[in-house]
């Protein structure tokens, strides 16, 4: 689904942000992309979603370069941004119907059904987004990411702003999507999300991938290397790989 070879990128007049990233993500896999702020996570995601151009190396998604047919590519992906980014003067339903109308009719999901699945408070359905809590906005934003039945789903901090019950619901929904065959590229600081959801995890720091494996393998390797009998966590792995914590 995703094939990245020697990916490099630098913003104008600044040093290189990405230094030759190489990784691949299989169909139907949940791939965690973890790293501290400024490590190059967002830049990588922007390149993968076709927003940033002018990179070095090769990037193939769904068998082709995103720039080859950007329109078709965007019809097949869904993105949950770190912030909800919704029209606050419109209701949840109006927002979803508006964004859905950019996709072909046969790909659109029913906005009402999606919101019900996300346990959205239906009495707010026609109220403007400006009156919603952070968690409700996050639910609408997730519904927007799923509205076109994407083959490839990019999630940036999906459980941020959610209460524990909401986070459990989101994780269940992400699993459901994967079971339907959707590939998921998850960017997060939340180690619990990464541990529970991801098939494989890549740690990125200073524009380089420091470690890439399944969460269990990474934890096991870390335990052996540190000669520590207690069970390692993903956070321990990250600190060992990069020499710093997730901030």
């Amino acid at each position: 689904m995703i094939e990245v070879q020697q990916l490099t990128f630098s913003y104008k007049k600044s040093r290189e942000t990405l230094h030759g990233l190489t990784f691949s993500v299989s169909d139907g896999e949940i791939f965690g992309f973890l790293g501290p702020n400024g490590s190059g996570k967002s830049t990588t995601q922007k390149i993968l979603t076709g927003i940033l151009k002018g990179y070095g190396g090769t990037v193939h998604l769904m068998g082709q370069k995103p720039s080859n047919n950007l329109r078709e590519f965007h019809e097949n992906i869904g993105v949950l941004f770190e912030f909800p980014y919704l029209y606050t003067n419109l209701s949840a339903l109006d927002n979803l119907n508006y964004f859905a109308s950019f996709y072909p009719a046969d790909r659109r999901r029913d906005a009402n059904e999606l919101l019900k699945k996300l346990e959205f408070k239906m009495e707010y359905l026609k109220k403007p987004v400006s009156s919603y809590s952070k968690g409700m906005r996050q639910r609408v934003s997730m519904a927007r990411a799923l509205i076109n039945q994407p083959r490839l789903l990019f999630l940036d901090e999906p459980t941020s702003g959610l209460d524990p019950a909401g986070a459990v619901l989101f994780r269940r929904l992400i699993e459901e999507e994967r079971n339907k065959g959707t590939t998921i590229f998850l960017t997060t600081h939340n180690m619990q999300d990464a541990d529970l959801l991801c098939d494989r995890v890549a740690f990125i720091a200073d524009g380089e991938i420091k470690a890439l494996d399944t969460p269990n393998q990474l934890k096991e390797k870390n335990r052996l290397m540190s000669n520590d009998n207690r069970e390692s966590t993903l956070e321990d792995v990250f600190i060992r790989c990069t020499g710093r914590g997730l901030s």
Partner: protein, 342 residues
């Protein structure tokens, strides 16, 4: 792209309605019209005094915008101030008499103004042919009263101000709203096109400016003169509206917050439009004004209101180039904005 364009157009229209943009435009229209009809149209100032020799004995008595002279010498004397304009209608051909103000566009406007008193909307050489068919001198000058002149002038100024300053602010406020909500970033991953995003906004503002122009001209100039000048005025309105809308869009994308933008707006309003009005409407001379793009846009708009656009190929070529450059700059800025961090 057409489907996405109309989707964006409908969404922008909703945002404009929610932002009470049309209500504000209607308020401006009402305010300008009240000012023109209750106050300005009745003022007796005449910016370029027009002196006529040769037809005064047959002219109607209520032609208060023009002054008659008893001889050609007197006409020449009156027009030596570099400000007044003379019409010598004593011979078979009509001649415009005036001393140059040393600024070509001002001279052109003075000629346009004097010509607007003639019954035809045309140039001097065409006038010669036209006038040779007439023997009765009273037909040489139409009833372009001082009130009508005032109406044309002030309507032109208000329209220019509305397009240059208010329109600029209107589009920027719409853009800042979307920037604040962050939704611009979402368009980066939608199957739509950045051009559709730009053109939907541009279309809405240009169309609303054209409608505003029609209503303002119709209400304040009167329907007969309005019909005569409207095609030329609409062309100039379209050009100015496109340039200002794109400039507003560019500034609102590039400038990070509304406070910075307000400062930019003040600079534009005070230092850009004020000298244009000063030179365009009074005898103040500023040589560098010829290099001021807004000055040319204003003079062409004024020429359109007096049925005498003097612009040629170069003017339209420069305007087209400016619009293309602005469009490309907005496209690049928009792409950058879509790729920004949250």
């Amino acid at each position: 792209m057409t489907h996405h364009f109309f989707l964006l157009l409908r969404k922008d229209l909703r945002l404009m309605l929610a932002g009470k943009f049309f209500l504000l435009a209607l308020g401006s229209l009402l305010f300008y019209s009240l000012y023109i009809n209750l106050f300005y149209a009745k003022t007796d100032q005449d910016i370029y005094p027009v002196y006529v020799y040769g037809t005064h004995h047959t002219l109607p008595k209520n032609m208060d915008a023009i002054h008659f002279t008893n001889s050609l010498e007197e006409l020449n004397d009156k027009c030596m101030d570099g400000y007044s304009v003379g019409i010598d209608a004593s011979g078979e051909n009509i001649n415009i008499v005036m001393k140059s103000s040393d600024i070509n566009t001002i001279d052109a406007l003075r000629v346009q103004y004097a010509e607007s008193f003639l019954q035809y909307p045309g140039r001097i050489d065409e006038a010669d042919k036209f006038l040779s068919n007439f023997r009765e001198p009273e037909k040489l000058i139409k009833n372009n009263s001082l009130e009508l002149k005032n109406r044309r002038e002030i309507t032109c100024e208000f329209l220019f101000f509305e397009l240059a300053a208010v329109g600029f602010l209107g589009l920027a406020s719409l853009m800042f709203k979307e920037k604040e909500m962050g939704v611009i970033r979402v368009y980066g991953i939608l199957p739509g096109n950045v051009w559709a995003f730009i053109f939907s906004k541009l279309t809405l503002f240009v169309v609303s400016d054209l409608v505003f122009c029609i209503l303002l001209t119709l209400i304040n100039v009167g329907w007969k003169p309005c019909i005569a000048v409207l095609p030329a005025v609409l062309v100039q309105t379209g050009i100015l509206s496109m340039i200002m809308s794109l400039a507003g869009l560019l500034c609102s994308v590039c400038v990070s917050d509304f406070r910075q933008f307000s400062l930019l707006y003040l600079v534009l309003a005070i230092f850009v439009t004020t000298p244009v009005f000063l030179v365009g409407q009074t005898s103040v001379k500023l040589d560098w004004m010829l290099y001021h793009p807004m000055y040319h846009l204003f003079m062409q708009m004024k020429g359109a209101y007096f049925s005498s656009v003097t612009s040629g190929f170069v003017y339209y070529a420069v305007c087209t180039a400016a619009i293309i450059v602005l469009l490309c700059a907005v496209y690049r800025a928009m792409q950058r904005e879509m790729a920004k961090e949250g």
